[in-house]
């Protein structure tokens, strides 16, 4: 799928082992950016596949986040639940250009928004 890259601010705007939600929806869904100790940045649709909890408010360990509602553990790299729980939230591409975070917004959703 084709993406267009949107700038959303400096890397430091996300705390290490923390996450922040975006102020706009992508394909009608809230999105959050997560930052790990290893300086990894990940973007997920901010909705736990279990009961729609806000993953961005969870505790981040390694490259996983624990949903604050019922403790499902979700992988930040691909959005899947760590077994034996089964489920997945969508992950979106992120990259850093000159210290600025950019998120890849799928073209379809842009057109839909336009």
């Amino acid at each position: 799928m084709a993406y267009s890259w949107k700038k959303i601010g400096p890397v430091e705007s996300i705390p290490v082992q923390g996450a922040r939600r975006l102020g706009f929806l992508i394909e009608g869904q809230p999105v959050a950016i997560f930052r790990t100790v290893e300086q990894g940045l990940f973007a997920l649709i901010d909705v736990c596949p279990h009961r729609q909890g806000p993953l961005s408010e969870g505790i981040i360990c390694g490259a996983t986040v624990t949903c604050p509602l019922h403790n499902w553990v979700i992988r930040l790299d691909n959005g899947t639940a760590v077994g034996p729980d089964e489920g997945q939230t969508t992950s979106l591409p992120v990259r850093i250009v000159a210290g600025e975070i950019q998120i890849g917004v799928p073209h379809t959703s842009e057109e839909a928004a336009a």
């Binding site: 949107k6 700038k7 959303i8 601010g9 705007s13 705390p15 290490v16 082992q17 923390g18 922040r20 939600r21 975006l22 102020g23 706009f24 950016i33 100790v37 279990h50 009961r51 806000p54 408010e57 969870g58 505790i59 981040i60 360990c61 390694g62 624990t66 604050p68 509602l69 403790n71 553990v73 077994g83 034996p84 600025e100």
Partner: protein
Amino acid sequence: MNMMTDNRQRLVVIGNGMAGMRTIEELLNHEAGRRYHITVFGAEPHVNYNRIMLSSVLAGDKSLDEIVINPLEWYEDNGIRLFTGDPVTAIDRQAKTVQAASGLRVRYDQLLIATGSRPLAPPIAGLGLPGVCAFRDIADVNKMLEAARLHRRAVVIGGGLLGLEAAWGLKQRGMSVALVHLMPTLMERQLDAAAGQLLQRDLDRRGIAFFTNGQTEEILGTERAEGVQLTDGRSIPADLVVLAIGIRPNIDLARAAGLDVSRGICVFDDMRTSDPDIFAVGECTEHRGEIFGLVAPLWDQAKVCAAHLAGDETAVFTSQTLSTRLKITGVDVFSAGALMAADETDDEITLRDDGQGLYKKIILRDGRLVGVVLYGDATDGQWYLQLMRDKADVSLLRDRLVFGRALAEGGANKPAGPDFSAMPGETQICGCNGVSKDTIVAAIKDKKFTSLSDVRAHTKASASCGQCTSLVEGLLAFTAGVDAKAGKKTLCDCTEAGHDEIRQAILAQTLKTMESIRAAFGWKKPEGCHKCRPALNYYLLCAWPGEYHDDSRSRFVNERLHANIQKDGTYSVVPRMWGGVTTPSELRAIASVAEKFSIPTVKLTGGQRIDLLGVKKEDLPAVWADLNSAGMVSGHAYGKALRTVKTCVGSEWCRFGTQDSTGLGIKLEKLAWGSWTPHKVKLAVSGCPRNCAEATIKDLGVICVEAGYDLVVGGNGGVEVRVADPLARVATEEEVLEYAGAFLQLYREEAHYLERTAPWIVRVGLAYVKQRIVEDAIGRGALYGRFLHSQKYVQADPWAERARDPEAREFAPLLMEA
């Protein structure tokens, strides 16, 4: 002669429920089972789900997703055609076809009828009114949940297993619940009168109103259900009426097809009906005069039926002695076999302890156990059941048998719990999922499992209602030598070390960071997990006040944002109200904040404060700033911390008050606020023994008397209500503060993270707490000193701090840049 191009046999299943699909699962386990082309018709519009767990869905313990047994992919992966929401309307045995409601007609070579049962409906008026439902399927549960949201009063008709679980679930959902039962005692088919009465007493205490000997005359109402009228003149108002008086096998289809039916569809030992090409399993069947309502025999039927479909003609279904358990949290009931002596040659042996709500009865016939009823402690249920199934001679155990396994088998040297080496392989360990000892042992051996969670994830044993967890743990220990119980006491899966061990090492080895603790104990995950990080953060805060820097990233969201996350993702904010006392200007400030930020709900809490519910995350800093500027600080209503000090008005106003309870409450709150504790802590001060502040169900309560102050500790008003234990009587307010501070510090230093004072005191014993706080005056002074020292660093308003903190920007969402 098979003329199809697809030379597989056509198997059609009528019914997409538990028994039918379990048969297919069993069939697919056979090599020969793959020779079928399978078509399934289900009347409900869902995939296959665990009907037994509907009561857990109703009670809010599980979601609908969690009770799905086989998702759509399972049908696809196994090449099964599934038609949901399409009941079969006729079977043509000559043409060997079934006709569905949609018009679809499908040929079969072999047919499996698994149509289940339907709820019995009494012949009374009003059954068709909106607000009346049964408790059988997902649609019923959805109706009940909707009623619980919109209405207040429910009546359940039927005091059997299902009715009681429905009543408890609705109670959990906040409805006021009455239960009408035709017989004098509850669950009379599974429990004798004594156990039924104990059950009624316990549920009555939990707030369910019982109408026994109650025959329903009609359901009242015109537009919707308004109440239930009993024949003896009693009338009960209701917005929801749930019928749970029993089930009746669904046999209409089989009867119309000319199969032999009686109460159920008659099946032989091979699960064939009177037509050898038609099988039947589940609650629709009748085998040797017996019909079925519990899950265990259905699993056996499924296994036998699948074997025959796969060409194994030797499998035989025999009905075993069945046992019953009730799925209500904290109510332990077990019964199997006879409920009472059949004649004078049978012997009943009874043990009854009304104080503890304990009741055990066993029934002996010719030296063998033929019945057991357990109430209050059902630990030994499976052991008794196996003795019955084995027809074991128990004459030698007779005088000890009723006391349970540990005593009966005598020996201090013999470990309590089942003897797994003597247990037959086919013994069912998990009734919900029909998992046998052999299956679990094989999984543990083949896959080299060492943890309960692995065994549970892969065999599903103990994954449904969880009552067999201790048995699965035992099997794990027996098979792999892993002590799952000891494993459970570790801090989390990252480490083998327990809470106490880690806390001692923090002090002994002066470990001052999470990294150093994880290094010292060889943590499995370098960053820990969501369980150990909050615990270690607390232990370090407690051990090194003023030195350790709180790690907000290891805090649960509520403690990180200083507000309680709600189910819709908004937050609730509770400002502190010292001793429950407020002023007009504080109330004005709260009112202004609520209006300014359009806060939808303003509610009084049980701890004498005001809760602002529905605050958006990005508004939190501004809400706090406004409350701060009116002199209010965080109430820590979100934290494992000191919550409230509830007071009555005391001697200042009350004609019964003996001391200034309000003033003392404020002093206590000023002393203790801001402290982090292993779990939440609630205090109260009552001005006289009438105890209007409910001090006896608080972690620490003070009851004022003329001679001074009675201190009580370890009370709890939650699900497991516990009355506080008396600690001491002291003479002065200063002593109250010292004892309270010392008690809180002892709890802070020695309880496990997430352990309330009540279970902590149960674990260490009241005598120990008294010895540390009352008898050892020097030790008490030292504890109090450490508490005061620790308080120096935490009594800063977290709201004001968070609003100044650079991380405060986190509350705002990230915006797209141009």
